[in-house]
């Protein structure tokens, strides 16, 4: 018994010596354990960026429309992996067709984008795309904010939880960079692919027509140039986007019977605005 126990003890140690370093490194790199404090910092940063988005385009003041877009977002959020976020949506008062998002769950859809939509599934598709930029922390990773533990999400706490001018300067610089990504540079192509494909998975999981974004892009790609000029500048081509969305629908088996477009409810809220 004693010999068996000793043998077992030695053999238990051997793998940890051989593989433990490997396992720890992998866990450290892959496991992004995010604390409540990290999320609060993410929301605080995103809130400031949201205010700057509204500095460029004011809020379209319509309470029933604002409630409606928020209900769509909150309902989608129940099907996603950021349950701690209160996704908050505003409609921007501009004819430009576009959507924006800031860390922490702030989402914006333009009035122009909504005017070009025909149903709730298309609205859900655009909102879901922006939600995925938030969920996947695209701006966080792009800003290369790192805390002491390799987790990009923890970087916000590190950056804005401290005091002093150096920290504040870094914070304002990060805000300016975030706005630059949103309005000038655009996201990386891989991030746009992720937002389109995961956004489509999200709306399909919620029960909406998974082809909604395809329908919407087919419609607006031939539209008025001045309304889509910024959208085209900041995103890959519509044809590319339609292509990878269709691939995602096929690969994940998202199609089928029973998905909703939500035409009636959408018209009830939107069309009566005139």
């Amino acid at each position: 018994m004693t010999k068996a126990a000793l043998a077992a003890a030695i053999l238990l140690l051997l793998p940890s010596l051989a593989f433990g370093g490997d396992l720890r490194a992998r866990a450290h790199a892959e496991l992004q354990v995010v604390t409540t404090d990290d999320v609060k910092s993410e929301v605080a940063f995103g809130r400031e960026v949201a205010a700057m988005i509204l500095g460029k385009y004011p809020l379209y003041r319509d309470e029933s429309l604002t409630r409606y877009v928020n209900l769509v977002a909150r309902m989608l959020a129940r099907n996603s992996n950021r349950p701690e976020l209160n996704f908050t949506v505003g409609v921007l008062d501009t004819d430009m067709i576009n959507g924006f998002s800031a860390p922490g769950g702030y989402i914006f859809v333009t009035k122009g984008a909504i005017d070009a939509m025909d149903d709730e599934a298309e609205l859900a598709g655009v909102i879901a795309h922006e939600m995925m930029h938030v969920s996947q922390r695209h701006i966080v990773k792009e800003l290369n904010i790192h805390g002491s533990d390799l987790s990009p999400a923890a970087g916000f706490s590190h950056m804005i939880g401290g005091a002093g001018d150096v920290v504040k300067v870094a914070f304002v610089k990060a805000m300016d960079e975030a706005v630059n990504i949103l309005f000038e540079r655009g996201y990386k192509k891989q991030d746009e692919i992720e937002a389109d494909t995961l956004g489509t998975e999200l709306i399909a999981t919620a029960g909406y027509d998974p082809e909604a974004l395809v329908r919407y892009f087919e419609k607006i790609k031939g539209g008025q140039e001045k309304e889509t000029v910024t959208l085209k500048k900041l995103h890959p081509s519509f044809d590319e986007r339609i292509g990878w969305i269709k691939q995602a629908v096929e690969k994940n088996g998202l199609g089928g019977e029973g998905h909703k477009k939500g035409v009636e409810r959408f018209n009830g809220v939107i069309r009566k605005k005139g």
């Binding site: 077992a8 793998p15 404090d37 929301v43 309902m75 099907n79 992996n81 999981t205 029960g207 909703k260």
Partner: protein, 162 residues
């Protein structure tokens, strides 16, 4: 001797089984467990928010898990590495007016959150320069803050979505 040998064989072949097996936790309200990494395959079960699922394989956008006697695939969008967090907010419905001549102290911010982000002075500067609009931000937050779980549930039910 036989028992010792058996133990040695098991430990040599499965050393990783002795160490932390990877798990994921359901983040969404529910997560369907499918027979294949595809929503058109057979649905084997449904996991609930907070359920801990043991990971046996990773795919492209999917994770193979075991939950009790069920072994199947969940979509990565519905799971995460840690148990789901409660809602995190730095804003309450009673938001502050940060613009204009009569500025009130932001009672909406927690004492910890108040130390985050920009100061009131910096926000006023950005507003005066036309770079930021906190008034509209507070307006949209106020509207969103009035939406509760029950209303979201009804909205989903009425629309035939979930």
């Amino acid at each position: 001797m036989k028992k010792t040998l058996m133990l040695l064989v098991v430990l040599l072949v499965f050393p990783h089984a002795l160490f932390a097996a990877e798990s994921v936790f359901v983040q969404s309200v529910k997560a369907k467990i499918m027979g294949e990494p595809n929503f058109k395959s057979k649905e084997l079960g449904v996991a609930q928010k907070g359920d801990k699922l043991a990971v046996t394989e990773k795919g492209d956008g999917w994770v193979k898990v075991t939950a009790g006697s069920v072994s199947g695939w969940v979509n990565k969008l519905t799971v995460g590495d840690a148990p789901p967090m409660d809602k995190v907010s730095i804003i309450t419905a009673d938001s502050a007016n940060l613009e204009g001549k009569s500025r009130k102290r932001a009672s909406a911010m927690t004492s910890a959150a108040a130390a985050r982000g920009l100061s009131d002075t910096e926000r006023k500067r950005l507003t005066d320069e036309g770079k930021a609009n906190y008034r509209d931000l507070v307006e949209m937050e106020k509207i969103a803050a009035t939406i509760g779980d029950r209303e979201i549930g009804s909205f989903a039910d009425e629309g035939g979505v979930q």
